[in-house]
Symmetry: C2
Subunit: 461 residues, 2 copies
């Protein structure tokens, strides 16, 4: 069966597709902030309602955190059975004052080939997941049904380390196990070149709280005698990296390994402009491990970054205080076979070894997941590459991603499934930053790409 009517439906329906996406973007589903719990529920309800309207057997399932949306559709006897995964939660929009327009009032801006949608969560991940929903809609409109069996799983805790996902997968193994997972939370190589992401860094999220005196002290009356937790915390953080940008925590690199020589050669052949990549951020010099390319630094090397720090008086003016505590939030990115639990324990031991007399440290874990690699021999990968090449008229790049998608690890570990990571974001989407955007071309051709991939996986063409 020719795919043209399906693709034509996507083209014709584009304006309404955008309106539907806008409706989802208007819901501030910020998962990390308890104040937005109701909005997360609202986003889940909206999605379940949309999918049910397309004929999916769709519902919203409660968890200890934010709910899951699960939807089943397509002919049960037509394989392979695919499990599509996306997330409806978004990052907090702060700092709010840097947004040119309100983050939850989506707009279509620009003209001609440079049209884009601006809103928090449009690239990460609402716009991306809607490309798949719109592809399904087009099949149903043009052919009356999906070309193969499709299960859709949408979560609301991706930005907070997905705490409810592992128990949910464990409790619904039979329902959710499919032949292959389709995951949309990734980027293209550039605005004209699609990509399949085959390497994902892992993630360990730690918070450390250093405590000194039992209360805040006057820095004049006690300064010189009383330990200052900010000074202690600064010294600990300053010791994490050595002069060459390597992480000095003992055992940290265990299992990190080195890049496959074939992949290294492929990446070297890519037209990657380090100066432009950094220049787009207002930077000039790569800040990571000395002697590594930028692509290696962000895709294939482990890191540690402080994501936040706070202690003492931070309001206007000054306050001459020695605070009782100071804290920092850190994220470690992992590669290869690095063990998240070993990294966490290594960090905690590193901190404890550097605590002076009279200081205590408390730790909070905000999540941990290993790095992942898709086997290049996967039969689904070959079909996906062909489908993407047909849409974009360029062979897709097989790339890495510095970001972490813990679900891919759970799919592999708990459900025995590989994941095809295909997304249509681009480098300058400003995800997690003010003025996040998603190109209209990403949204439109993304939906067309999924239509082609679903057809290809179903054995058509």
């Amino acid at each position: 069966m020719a795919l043209d009517p399906v693709l034509a439906t996507i083209d014709r329906d584009l304006d309404q597709s955008i309106e539907r996406l806008f409706a989802l973007l208007r819901i501030p589903s910020i998962s990390t902030d308890p104040a937005y719990r109701g909005e997360c529920r609202k986003a889940a309800d909206w999605l379940a309602h949309e999918l049910a309207a397309l004929g999916f057997n769709a519902d919203v399932r409660a968890t200890k955190g934010h709910p899951m949306v699960v939807a089943h559709g397509g002919p049960k006897d037509r394989g392979p059975h695919v499990l599509f995964y996306g997330h409806y939660d978004v990052q907090p929009p702060d700092p709010l004052e840097l947004w040119e327009t309100p983050p939850f009032e989506p707009r279509l801006v620009g003209s001609n080939g440079n049209r884009r949608i601006v809103a928090r969560g449009v690239a990460d991940d609402k716009g991306q997941l809607m490309t798949f929903v719109e592809a399904c809609r087009a099949f149903i409109a043009a052919e009356g049904k999906l070309p193969l069996r499709v299960t859709i799983l949408l979560e609301g805790e991706e930005e907070t380390g997905s705490p409810s996902l592992p128990p949910f997968l464990d409790a619904h193994k039979e329902e959710l196990a499919a032949d292959v997972a389709l995951v949309c939370d990734t980027d293209m190589w550039d605005a004209n070149t699609p990509a399949v992401t085959t390497m994902l860094r892992g993630l360990v999220l730690e918070e450390v709280i250093v405590e000194g005196a039992d209360r805040d002290l006057h820095s004049g009356l006690f300064g010189g005698a009383a330990i200052n937790p900010i000074r202690v915390l600064a010294r600990i953080l300053a010791g994490i990296h050595d002069e060459n940008g390597r992480i000095a925590i003992p055992g940290f690199y265990d299992g990190a390994g080195e890049l496959d020589p074939e992949i290294r050669a492929q990446w070297r052949a890519l037209d990657f402009n380090e100066s432009r990549f950094l220049g787009d951020l207002g930077l000039k010099v790569p800040a990571g491990e000395a002697g590594r390319s930028v692509l290696e630094q962000i895709w294939a090397r482990p890191t540690c970054d402080a994501n936040g720090i706070i202690g003492g008086y931070t309001g206007a003016g000054s306050k001459t205080v020695i605070p009782a505590r100071a804290s920092a939030k850190l994220s470690f990115r992992l590669v290869g076979q690095q063990d998240p639990m070993a990294v966490r324990e290594g960090f905690r031991a590193f901190v404890r070894a550097r605590l002076p007399a009279d200081c205590k440290a408390e730790f909070l874990s905000h999540g941990a997941s290993p790095a992942l690699q898709l086997p290049l021999s996967s039969p689904y990968l070959a079909k996906t590459r062909k489908a993407l090449e047909a849409e974009w008229e360029r062979a897709p790049v097989l790339k890495g991603s510095g970001g972490s998608i813990p679900i891919v690890g759970s799919f592999k570990r708990d459900l025995g499934m590989d994941s095809l990571l295909v997304g249509f974001g681009v480098d300058d989407d400003r995800i997690h930053s003010p003025n996040e955007k998603y190109d209209l071309a990403s949204f439109h051709k993304g939906a067309r790409s999924w239509a082609r991939i679903l057809a290809a996986l179903a054995g058509r063409n």
Copy 2:
């Protein structure tokens, strides 16, 4: 003339004195926060009204910041002319959740010899300044007039480095220049032993903002390549102190000098319990320069403390961000002849020398003042020591203070006056901390002490 009727008036009037102090404590005159500007004005108005009711020629004078209260009283032909200085502004009360009762709802708690008043600002400095006002009130009630010429100057910017004071003193030199200044913002040696403070540390307040990329970045997509300002700031702060607790900023100790051997001997003879001093804070080990006593560390050695630090995401949960900026507020305590401007420039140069490629630093100054020392030969000091001994039945200790009182420097530099630093606070008053208190004995015997000092300075007894 016998002083007994004046002292008896103070004793009899104590309950009303407490009520008057409570009225002042209920005004949240937080000078560092622009939101409390009106409350600072209210505190100034309240004080001017009280002093006018006592017969002072009192008024509120506008400045670019918070207003001054200036009041003149007593016989113009009876010397010496004394200038009493205090401040009506207070520190912010945060962290609010650690207060057992609301900071601006004063309470009298405890029983017998352990009664105390709890409220923000009660020890620093509202309770202290009211001891002097109550002593004046008692003279007027018992004798119909003050025993000597008194000028009172109360400011509202002491907690923010007194930016308006130097121009105000400069503009009112003739009106304010007296024979000696009386400054009440200091402590006793202990709850039973009075003290005159003869050494004050100076203060330099600096804020540094380190900036990296031109926006917040996703720590997965950019971590490893993009510089992290928290890491840079931590490294700078960690480098300020060496392994022995000495400050590593080049030239920092220029002019700091060493303690006078006589003073050192006097301090050694004091019954100072280092373990108890630290134990009261929940600490065990002095954190300052190795090889110095705690008294020397807090009274006679310079320090650097971070008073606050902030950067990146500091809300609930986690956010995988590399922030665009991180900042810290620092205070330097100075001794001897250290030059505040040189310390400031030394710090800024130290920071700039440690900035990696792609990072910028901005600096904000929140004030600067040198250290001060009262000549031990002052004739007013001898009379004051005698008066204090009469009230407390113990000879006062001549001590240092780690805190800074910039006004004392201005009095010396601009008006050619020495200052007698006499206050009735004690170590555990928790100034600048939650649950600040002032002993009822400090308040009551403090007022009696000022009555005795005023009489002694006037040549009575």
